[in-house]
């Protein structure tokens, strides 16, 4: 599964993308796995209310299932325009 990070999430984790092997069934489970890995992940995911997630380039909830998902992106609320 491909993980993408944008804006300050990317900066805190220290990389723009990575490939992971996971058994997580939901985004929330994936986040728990990542937080357990290293301090920088724990810091980036400390406050989920400040984060958004997209599954295969569509906005989704943190309790959304990961079945068949190939690309998960984490980022702060968007500020375009």
């Amino acid at each position: 599964m491909q993980l993408l990070y944008f804006a300050w999430v990317r900066e805190r984790i220290g990389l723009p993308r990575e490939t992971v092997e996971t058994e997580a069934r939901t985004v929330a489970e994936l986040v728990e796995e990542l937080k357990a890995r290293e301090e920088r992940y724990a810091a980036a995911f400390a406050d989920l209310s400040a984060l958004r997630v997209a599954l295969d380039q569509e906005l989704a909830d943190f309790n959304a299932p990961l079945k068949d998902v190939r690309e998960v992106a984490f980022f702060p609320p968007m500020t375009g325009g």
Binding site: F6, A54, A73, F75, P76, M78, T79, G80, G81
Partner: protein, 146 residues
């Protein structure tokens, strides 16, 4: 419908003119342009990050919805990414409709969605450091009216 996500500057005047000229029996054309402004006085530049692929998809989805919902004749969206200096144009939208209320509403709808639902993030490069621009509650609230 024309949607462009690009690093290069665009020529607002030429784009607005071409869009308006291209309208057959649409009597009303509205444009919106966003310009980098130096609110605090110490802004060196603005850097916009985006999510290639998802950005285009999100803009297309919102443009299609605006076309149907406000019976627009045409929609143009141009949004830049990368580094921009104060005074540079960040993005523009243009809408065309038979009547002005629809052209206005279509443009406002697009802007509200573009602000909070298209994957762009702004970072301000100040003389004193850098800062990611925080999302404004009123931008999120603005979606409630549609």
């Amino acid at each position: 419908m024309d949607i462009r996500v690009q690093a290069t500057p665009f020529d607002f005047g030429a784009e607005a003119e071409a869009f308006a000229r291209g309208q057959g029996d649409m009597g009303a054309v509205v444009t919106f342009t966003g310009i980098v402004r130096d609110v605090s006085g110490g802004l060196v530049s603005m850097e916009i990050e985006h999510y290639p692929g998802m950005t285009e998809k999100a803009l297309e989805t919102h443009a299609r919805e605006a076309l149907i919902r406000f019976q627009l004749g045409d929609v143009l969206i141009i949004h830049r990414f990368g580094e921009m200096r104060p005074g540079e144009m960040i993005m523009m939208v243009a809408t065309a409709a038979p009547h002005r209320a629809d052209a206005f509403q279509g443009a406002e709808f697009l802007m509200d969605y573009l602000k909070s639902r298209a994957p762009f993030w702004k970072k301000e490069i100040m003389q004193t450091g850098t800062d990611w621009v925080a999302a404004r509650d009123e931008d999120e609230d603005a979606l409630g009216r549609w």
